[in-house]
Every structure is written in structure tokens, then in C-alpha cells.
Point group: C2
Chain length 297, copies 2
């Protein structure tokens, strides 16, 4: 069922704004003084494809807190830079060893492994540079703190480590462990998208943690279900890779049918969590987000 | 000739203070919530060995500007984290492919390639986290901006890219190109050490750029001369690697004897640059730094 304020519609509608901010940010950061080959790799990693989910969540959380969307654009750009760097590094031969992403050769295939490592490193630095050029120093510092924790060893990087460490022993990995891996690997940065957006509106970001955690878990659950169902079309990447690599997944723990039911329950809980709050701004698209994620199945 | 206020003596004397700050920082950042395996790799990368040159330069620049050394400790820690991450990534098989550093197996040898990539990524995030926990938000933002630019694609990461891109065509690389590679690869972060330290004292960091650039160039020139002379003892790593990899170096451009003379001229220029300024605090050890670097030869 498609509602009038469907999340997907806003994801599409905001995309030109996000893409323009990404391009402008690249032109305004120190990247313009970088060697050509590296510039090219960084631009390819950031600009070729991508649904811009994290920037959109950041902008919508800012709106929900009654802020001007433009105030959240630097954070939206920084989040997408960290996301892009994580994809490039996760795809490396020593990590998930993926040759295709979004139907194209991954960066280490097209540009070589050294340049892929360096482009990822550069994107992480650029994310913090983008936050640090903001006029409001307290905002810049607070967002940098939130982003560093979400992206760092206790968050995204820690999740990738646990995910790799769990490979090949999927039968020994329980529901709690899968939940922890997902909460870090995918959840932490998705959650941070809401936190940075809320902070851009001048609001306390902390009340967004619960909704962000549920959305993060749901996002990864749906990804695992699509992978197990061979739905490469909806994934935007080759399906069946999780099983092939012996990854610990939502489906491995809950099964296909149980996994769908658990995902639906998670979507209900996420929506209830948001409705429970009395937000000053518009949040209809965020309230629709859990349904939108489930509808990918 | 050893002067009373020799830089080496202060490097040694400040080391316990720097090491204590590094250990304390690790315990106070989000690293404490990271998975054990990753914590272990991050600690090994940051704490095993290292002369702590960058943190020391940062503390001394703060003193030279009349600041309290303690005010520069977060920046000193952040600089060493970025330096440590860069060594781990530079040593990777896809980059310089070094198996030994400071006489020990490099991180990808001891912990595996995936964990080495992730530990480097984590250290970069931690560096910005350490800056962002500072009470003074304007200081935190300004230092993050300086560090991100120095470490990013126009600085350190860009230098590593150019260095790799110049491999194997050393005969075609002129003096200007070698200077540019060094200014980015080693110079940018050394220069940033002075900038962040001066900023911690509340001073304008910009006047430190010229001295920082000369020190950075001299540092790398001495490294190249030691490498060409087979002085692995003074390098702390295997010598002769530059020639073996066909790297563009100071010696390749200036020759051994010409290179020594050019380095000595650079040391004089650096010292003159510092003496020319009227600094409010103690800077005798920094004035001795060019001599100290030359004396490694």
C-alpha cells in the first residue's frame, strides 16, 4: 500500500538536493588540491550510484525536530562519505572480496587495490573536514563526536571485524551475536544519521537512539532476507553471497519465515517508538520508513 | 655537538607524558566498547614502538606559543593515532608491502590483512573522537579542520598515492615532484603537529607553516639519505628499500653528496625561519630540531 507521504517518494524527491550537496562539498574541500588519480577515485566512490539513504534520514530527522533542512546538509554529506568509504574497504580482497557493486566493478577492480584503500582513507578524512568547516563550532564538535563513535571501533569498523570473524562458523552464532554484529556494522551509522540530523536542528540527539537502533536492525534483516531469497534485483548486488561465505545472518538464526515475522515485528516496534514521541516538525515520511523497508521483501 | 637544550633530550623526557596520554586516551574513547580482537590490533598499532616525534612537536609548539603543555595533549594523541594508522596502511601488501617495522612483524603479518585495514580505519576515527571530546568547541573544531586537511587527499593520503604512482619511473621524476611527494606524504602531518600545538595555546597556527614545511622536507631528506646509505640501524627499518622499489627519492634527485649538502641548507633555513619569529614561550628545543635531524646522518 502506498501512502501519500510515502518514504520512497521523499527519498526520490530529496535526491537532487543531496547529490548537489555532495558535489559541492567535494569542490569545496581540500580534495580540489589532491592529485588527479586520487580525486578521480574518491569521486567515483562517492558519486557513482547509491540510494543516499543516510543523508535522507539525516535531513528528515532535522525536519522532524523542526529544523531547516539546509542546516543538516554538512552532516548528510559527511555520513555518505563515511558510508562510501566503508563500502570501498569492505569490498577489498582481504575483506569481503566483492568484484561487483550496484552492477559495476568495485573500486579496487576499476582503480587498483592501493587506490581503493587510499580513496577510503581520504573519504573518512573528508567527512570530518566537512563537519569542521561549519560556522557553529559546538555543532561541529558534537556531530564529529557522534560520527567518530558510530564509525569507529565500537561501531561500524567493529561490526565489520565481528562479521569477518564470524565467517565460516555460522552454525555457532546465536541471535544475540547476529544482533550485535548488525547493530555495529550497519546499525551504528544509520542510527548516527538520525542523531546528527536531530543535532543540526539544535535538538538533543539521544532520544533518537531507540528508533535508530530498530531501523538499523530492520534494514539489515531485510538485506539478509533478500540475499537468502536470491533477490539480487532488490539488493543492488549479487544475492546468495552470505550463504556462500558462511556469514552469520538474520536468516541463519530465524529461518526465512521466522525471519520475515521477526522483521515485521521490528517494523511495528520502530513505528511505535517514533509515534510515542511528540516531535515539533514533520515526520510522516520517517513514520512510513519501517513499512518502506519491509516492502522491499 | 650536544647542546644543553638538545631536542633529543626533550624527546626522551616528554616520552612518558606522551605514552601516558596515549594509554589514557585509548581507555577513555569508544575503543573500550570495541570487540577484543580489534582492540588488541589498535593497541598494538599505536603503542608498540614509535619515537613519538609528532606528539612531541605538538607539545613543544604549544610551549613556544606560551601555552600549557597539557592543553596540547589531545592533539598530540590524535596526531600519533593518524601517524600510526598511516604506517599500518602503508605497510599493506597492496601498498609498500613491508613485513617488518621497528624490527617487528608489521600488523598485517601479525594480525592478518583485514584486521590491519580495520585497525587503521579505527585509528583515524579515534583521532577525531579524541579531538571532539575537548571542552573548548572552537579549539576542537579548528584542530579537526587542520588535521583532516593534513591527513586527507591533498596531504598525507595524496602523498602516499603520488609515491606509489612514481614507483618504477624514478629516472623521470624531478626535484619538484619529489619535493611535492614528500611535502604531502611526510610533511603535511609533521607540519600539522606544529599547527595543532600552536592552536592549543590559543595562537594563530598559520605562521608555523613555513617552519613546519622545512622540517618536514628535512625529515624525509634524512630518511632517504639513511635508506640509500644502508643505515637500517638509524632508520628503524630495513634500508635499501627505496632503491629496490624504484622510489622517487631525495637521493635519486640530488645524489648522496649533493643530498647531504641540500639537507644541511634546509636545516639552516628551518632554524632561521624559527629564530626570525618572536615567540612568547620557550623554543630552544625546537630551534635545535634541524640539527638533531641532520645528526641522524
Amino acid at each position: 500500500m502506498r501512502t501519500r507521504t510515502d518514504f520512497g517518494a521523499r527519498l526520490e524527491a530529496l535526491r537532487p538536493e543531496v547529490d548537489a550537496a555532495l558535489t559541492a562539498a567535494l569542490d569545496q574541500t581540500s580534495l580540489r588540491d589532491a592529485p588527479d588519480g586520487l580525486q578521480d577515485a574518491v569521486r567515483a566512490a562517492l558519486l557513482d550510484g547509491g540510494k543516499r539513504v543516510r543523508p535522507t534520514l539525516c535531513l528528515l530527522a532535522c525536519e522532524a525536530e523542526g529544523g531547516e533542512r539546509a542546516a543538516a546538509l554538512p552532516a548528510a554529506v559527511a555520513l555518505e562519505m563515511v558510508h562510501a568509504y566503508s563500502l570501498v574497504h569492505d569490498d577489498l580482497p582481504a575483506m569481503d572480496d566483492d568484484a561487483l557493486r550496484r552492477g559495476r566493478p568495485t573500486l579496487h577492480v576499476s582503480h587498483g587495490e592501493a587506490l581503493a584503500i587510499l580513496a577510503g582513507d581520504a573519504l573518512q578524512a573528508l567527512a570530518f573536514e566537512v563537519l569542521a568547516v561549519q560556522e557553529d563550532a559546538v555543532l561541529a564538535r558534537d556531530q564529529a563526536s557522534l560520527l567518530a563513535r558510530a564509525a569507529g571501533p565500537a561501531g561500524m569498523v567493529g561490526g565489520q571485524h565481528l562479521d569477518l570473524a564470524a565467517e565460516g562458523r555460522r552454525d555457532a552464532v546465536g541471535a544475540d551475536e547476529v544482533r550485535d554484529i548488525h547493530a555495529r556494522k550497519t546499525g551504528a551509522l544509520l542510527q548516527a544519521s538520525f542523531l546528527l540530523g536531530a543535532r543540526a536542528a539544535g535538538a538533543d540527539p539521544e532520544p533518537w537512539r531507540a528508533f535508530g537502533a530498530r531501523v538499523g536492525a530492520l534494514y539489515q534483516a531485510v538485506d539478509d532476507l533478500l540475499d537468502a531469497a536470491g533477490r539480487g534485483d532488490a539488493l543492488g548486488k549479487e544475492a546468495g553471497r552470505d550463504a556462500a561465505r558462511g556469514k552469520a545472518t538474520w536468516v541463519g538464526v530465524h529461518g526465512r519465515e521466522g525471519g520475515r515475522r521477526a522483521a515485521a515485528a521490528l517494523a511495528d516496534a520502530a513505528r511505535a517508538e517514533l509515534e510515542r514521541r511528540s516531535l515539533p516538525g514533520r515526520y510522516d515520511a520517517l513514520a512510513d520508513l519501517p513499512r518502506f523497508l519491509l516492502a522491499r521483501l
